[in-house]
Amino acid sequence: MTSVIDARDLTKKYKHATALDNVSLSIEKDSIYGLLGRNGAGKTTLMSILTAQNFATSGDVEIFGEHPYENARVLNRMCFVRESQKYPEDATAKHAIATARLFFPCWDQSLAEELIDDFRLPLKTPIKKLSRGQQSAVGVIIGLASRAEITFFDEPYLGFDAVARQMFYDRLIADYAECPRTVVLSSHLIDEVANLIENVIVIDRGRIIMDESTEEARTRAVNIVGDADSVQRLVAGREVIHREALGRVSSVTILGQLSDVDREFIADANLDLTPVSLQQLIVRTTQADTTSSNEDENTGPLTDTDVRSLQS
C-alpha cells in the first residue's frame, strides 16, 4: 500500500481555541476512510488544511509526496466537497456542473448526468433558490463525477432524506468499485456509513483518538445476546458500553476481546455473538476520552479494559 496523504504534527491554533492538536496521519491509496467525530472536533479544519484551503499553524502536509499549497499539479487531483459550499451568485446547477467538468481532469460526464436524474436536480434554478437537499446534491454530483484521485466529502448529505442518502452511499460504492480512488468521508451518521468505510479515523477535540481499519475497530468490542442471567455472568466486571433488554433476553456490548474460556462459556450457555455497532463504540470512546484526559496518550483510553479477563 502507498500512502497518498501524509500529515505530520499538524497544529492549528485560533485566537481562542486549538482546532487541531498535533495531528499525524497517513491515508492509503484507493481506500474509503470515515473521518468521524463530534461537531467542532476539527474534521473540516483538517480537510481544509489537507486541500491547502486553510493553513496549519505548524506541521507538514504532503499529498502525492508534494506540498499542496498553490500546487496545481496536486490540487488538480483532489476534490473537496464542503457541507455548505458557496456558489457564484447567479450560478445554476447546470453552470456549476459544467464548470466542474472544465477543471477536473478525470471528470465523467455520463455519470454526472445519471446522478442529475437520480437526485432529480433542477438544472435551471439558481442554486441559492434550491432546497438544502438539492444544494447538497450539487456538491455530491460534483464530488462523485470528478473522479478525483482523492475526494473529500464533508458531511455532504445535509438536507438529504433517507432515500437520497442511501442513493449517495450506493452510488459511491458502485463508482468506487468501477474506478477505485481514495475517499475521505466525514460524517456523524456513523451507523449509516459503517458498512461503507474500510478505515476509521476518529477525531475528538482536535486530536486523533482512533485510526485503524474498520475491522480492527470492531474487534475492540463484542456484542452478546441471549439469556439475561447468563449474559450478566459473562459481562460481570467488564466495561459495558451498551445494554438492551427485552423480557428474559438481553443484548450487551462490552469492550475488550474474548478469551477461549469466554467462547466456551458462550457456546455452553447458548449465547449469540452479533456485530458491534461502530456508533456505540465511537460514542463511548469519545466520552471515555473526555472523562479521562490525563491518561497516557500512547496507550489510549481502552487499555485497562483490553487486558481484563473473565478469570479475574
Binding site: 486541500t51 498553490e70 458557496k86 451568485e89 447567479d90 464548470t99 477543471f103
Partner: protein, 247 residues
C-alpha cells in the same frame, strides 16, 4: 494511473492556461454583475445626460455641454471587483484552483469587461464627434482633455482607470475577507487621512495652482500611465493579500 499522471504533467502549462480561462468563464457566470448592471448603468446615465442636454439646449443655451456622467460605470467597477472576489473565490477553491489561477483569471475577466466598456466609450465619443454632440452640442463620452491624444489614447485612459477601480474593489474585498470589517474600515480611514493631509500640505503651501498646472501638463496620457502604475502596485498588493486567504 501513472501514465495519466505523466501525461497531465506534460500538459501542465497548457492546462494551467485553460484553468485560468476557466476562471474567466466562472466570473462571467455572474452575468448580472459582470454584464447587465454595467450595461444598464452606462446606458441609463447616457440617456439621463442626453435628456438634460436636450432640456438645456431647448431653453436656448448654445455652448458645448460636458458632464461627468461617463464616470458612473467606471465607479461601478469597484463593486464588480468586490463581487468578483466575494461571489467566486470560494467556488474556485472548491474547483481545486490555486489562488494564483483565481487571481490571474479574475484580472483577465476584468480586463475583458474594461476593454468592452472602453470600446463602447470610444464609439460613443466618435459618434459625438461626427454628429457634433448629437446635433445639440452635448458631449457624454467625448471630453476634449481626455481625447487630446486621439480615440485610442482616450480608450486607453478609460481602460486604465476602470482596471484601477476594479483592482481597488477587489483588494478591499480580500482585505475584508481576510482581516474583517474592523481592519478594512480602519485602513480606509487611514487612506482618507493620508489623502487629506496631502491636500492640507498643498493648501498650506498655496500650491494648488502648481498642482492643477501639473495635471494639465501631464495630460491624459500621463494620467493613464499613473493609473496603470498604481494599478500594478495595487494588483501586487491584492495578490499578496490573497495568497494567505483561507476558506
Amino acid at each position: 494511473m501513472t501514465a495519466t499522471t505523466e501525461a497531465l504533467g506534460n500538459q501542465h502549462s497548457t492546462r494551467s492556461k485553460s484553468r485560468i480561462l476557466g476562471v474567466v468563464r466562472l466570473h462571467f457566470m455572474n452575468t448580472q454583475t459582470f454584464v447587465w448592471v454595467p450595461v444598464i448603468v452606462l446606458s441609463g446615465v447616457w440617456l439621463i445626460t442626453l435628456l438634460i442636454y436636450w432640456i438645456i439646449s431647448a431653453s436656448g443655451v448654445e455652448g458645448p455641454m460636458y458632464s461627468g456622467g461617463s464616470q458612473a460605470p467606471l465607479w461601478y467597477f469597484a463593486v464588480v471587483g468586490a463581487q468578483a472576489m466575494n461571489l467566486t473565490f470560494y467556488f474556485s477553491q472548491a474547483m481545486s484552483l490555486t489562488r494564483r489561477e483565481f487571481y490571474l483569471g479574475s484580472l483577465t475577466a476584468a480586463g475583458i469587461s474594461a476593454a468592452a466598456i472602453s470600446t463602447i466609450f470610444v464609439l460613443l465619443g466618435l459618434i459625438e464627434q461626427a454628429t457634433e454632440g448629437y446635433g445639440i452640442n452635448g458631449f457624454f463620452a467625448y471630453l476634449p482633455w481626455v481625447w487630446e491624444g486621439g480615440p485610442f489614447a482616450a480608450g486607453l485612459t478609460y481602460f486604465a482607470l476602470t482596471m484601477l477601480v476594479f483592482i481597488l474593489g477587489f483588494w478591499f474585498a480580500i482585505v475584508h475577507k481576510r482581516f474583517g470589517a474592523l481592519i478594512l474600515t480602519t485602513a480606509l480611514l487611514v487612506i482618507a487621512l493620508v489623502l487629506l493631509s496631502g491636500a492640507a500640505l498643498i493648501s498650506l503651501n498655496g500650491a494648488w495652482l502648481e498642482v492643477w498646472m501639473w495635471v494639465l501638463e501631464t495630460q491624459s496620457m500621463g494620467l493613464t500611465l499613473w493609473a496603470l502604475g498604481l494599478g500594478v502596485v495595487f494588483a501586487a498588493g491584492s495578490y499578496l493579500t490573497l495568497r494567505r486567504l483561507t476558506v
